[in-house]
Symmetry: C2
Subunit: 129 residues, 2 copies
DNA sequence: AAGTATATACGAAACCTTTCGTAAAGTCAA
DNA sequence: TTGACTTTACGAAAGGTTTCGTATATACTT
């Protein structure tokens, strides 16, 4: 998170970023097909969004071939961290604890995952002490 | 969370809800003053927002006296749960675990809180086993 | 070469959220 | 009762996001 002026992606932009993060550099056609797996969106709509994202720096595009190839312009973890901070303030008034408790309480988490979290906590307590 | 069609509050609406949750039934004047503690907003702007919230069911209002009194129309925990679900999907592709790890890693949490979380995890593991 | 298909560019409509000006009505004090 | 003040109501402007129609260019097929 070196970038000082972080841009907050809109909902649609985030949806597209998720695809770029998950699949790597992609064409508009591919992204649009993916989106249409679970909701209807016109091709030019997706195109426009991705062009806007390129303008904003949220995506990069390679225009060497006629069919442009887009890739994410911001890192997944930086973006998650940034959005998490905002969400935490807006929804939980900054209480990280409450958010974690809600999350653990409401979404099933596998025993392995729980163990992993416990390990992380223990590591933090050791480092901290 | 009995309500089946949950409304997603906008950012401004959530800001106002936080105040209603924290302080209980309040007048527009009070809410507006609170908002102005950390950013400038016109009185009629706040009034309009609260009227809209009443329309949507996000707030209730008592119009007995000339000065209307508004209270939250949705519960804090239901709303948090609902927003958390959406945020989790949109930002962490549904991985509760990743969200928790990010949160614990990035925001300082006191030793007491960490213990509390550990206790919760252990309780879950016992219940689950 | 002509016709079909697929790509980008552009602009504007549609929609939502936020902001505020103005009007109308109620309250209060001198 | 008049004037200053506060409140709600209303509507529309301003700003941002999403959607898509249309134009233009390029490639592919027969």
């Amino acid at each position: 998170m070196t970038d000082r002026k972080m841009i907050k992606p809109t909902e649609s932009e985030l949806e597209i970023l998720q695809l770029l993060w998950a699949h790597g550099p992609s064409t508009v056609r591919f992204v649009n097909d993916q989106l249409n797996e679970y909701r209807e969106v016109g091709y030019t709509t997706t195109l426009k969004l991705m062009q806007i994202m390129a303008d904003k720096g949220l995506a990069r595009r390679n225009t060497e071939s006629r069919t442009h190839v887009y890739s994410a312009g911001v890192s997944e973890s930086d973006t998650q961290e940034h959005l998490l901070k905002k969400f935490l303030d807006a929804t939980f008034r900054g209480s990280a604890m409450k958010l974690v408790m809600q999350t653990l309480g409401n979404h099933e988490t596998s025993p392995e995952e729980l163990d992993e979290i416990k390990a992380l906590i223990e590591k933090m307590e050791k480092d901290n002490h």
